[in-house]
């Protein structure tokens, strides 16, 4: 039983990284933390009192909840079919998502690279 449940773990990991990218890009935070006020608010909320709001915890929560759902659904797939899926997809998806983050954050680096190359 435990061994059967554990086969959902690679699915959880693959789903988590994809959902984390989506949650970050579309700002789908399950909750917002206001560090200056020490307050938590449900879903994505704007910053308060001129201090920045933190969405990172909310993005992780969104991705974790979504990945749990995907992993639970994957358990419905028969063992025979699940065994056909190549387990190497989990690290490959993670590398692709890491490269996507580099691309999405390129605006922070391009001016510096331009200065170095000048």
């Amino acid at each position: 039983m435990v061994m059967n449940l554990s086969r959902a773990l690679p699915v959880f990991s693959a789903a988590f990284v994809v959902l984390y990218l989506a949650a970050t890009h579309f700002n789908l935070a399950l909750f917002t933390y206001h560090p200056a006020q020490g307050e938590l608010e449900f879903l994505t909320r704007p910053p308060k009192g001129g201090a920045p709001a933190m969405y990172w915890y909310g993005w992780i929560a969104t991705a974790a909840v979504g990945a749990c759902v995907v992993a639970a659904i994957s358990l419905a797939v028969p063992d025979r079919l699940a065994a056909r899926v190549w387990p190497g997809w989990t690290p490959i998806i993670a590398v692709v998502v890491m490269l996507a983050f580099v691309y999405l954050l390129r605006g922070w680096f391009l001016p510096s690279i331009g200065l170095i190359l000048k």
């Binding site: 984390y20 991705a63 922070w108 001016p111």
Partner: protein, 154 residues
């Protein structure tokens, strides 16, 4: 208190780097024969036994860095660095945050593929997952150290 937490975070990260690097080298470049040479002995250890310790250290380090220290950085050091118009360090710190979150999410798969008895067909997946987590840990350590040199938490 913040300085003590930052020191603990740095020390735990150094221990984590040691463990994950050791495991990665042992997985990618296992020693073929017993030898007295330092690198052969380094690579010849039973790297599967490191898995649970690495997961525990990673989770504790992520809690200290991400939950206890990150809010202090967000409303203090980061605003100063942004005002100094140092865009690349801010971007690098954001990348560190995302890479380490991805590594955190990979831990369940990492545990699954490293549990004993090791499945021979999963050797490549084990190597890849370990390398990704090792890269994220090294990247996080270096960027964190670099950012702390620009503007520490105080």
């Amino acid at each position: 208190m913040t300085t003590a937490l930052l020191l603990f975070h740095g020390l735990l990260s150094a221990a984590l780097i040691g463990a994950i690097t050791h495991q990665m080298l042992g997985a990618w470049w296992p020693a073929r024969a017993a030898s007295g040479a330092f690198f052969s002995r380094f690579r010849a250890v039973n790297v599967a036994s490191y898995t649970n310790a690495i997961i525990v250290m990673f989770v504790i380090d992520a809690f200290v860095g991400g939950v206890l220290l990150y809010p202090i950085y967000r409303i203090g050091a980061r605003l100063v660095i942004e005002n100094m118009r140092l865009r690349a360090p801010v971007g690098l710190f954001d990348l560190k945050e995302h890479f380490l979150t991805i590594a955190l999410g990979l831990l369940p798969a990492y545990w699954y593929f490293w549990r004993r008895p090791l499945v021979a067909e999963h050797a490549t997946v084990r190597k890849l997952l370990t390398a990704i987590i090792a890269f994220a840990v090294w990247f996080g350590f270096l960027v964190g150290h670099f950012t702390n040199n620009i503007r520490g938490l105080w």
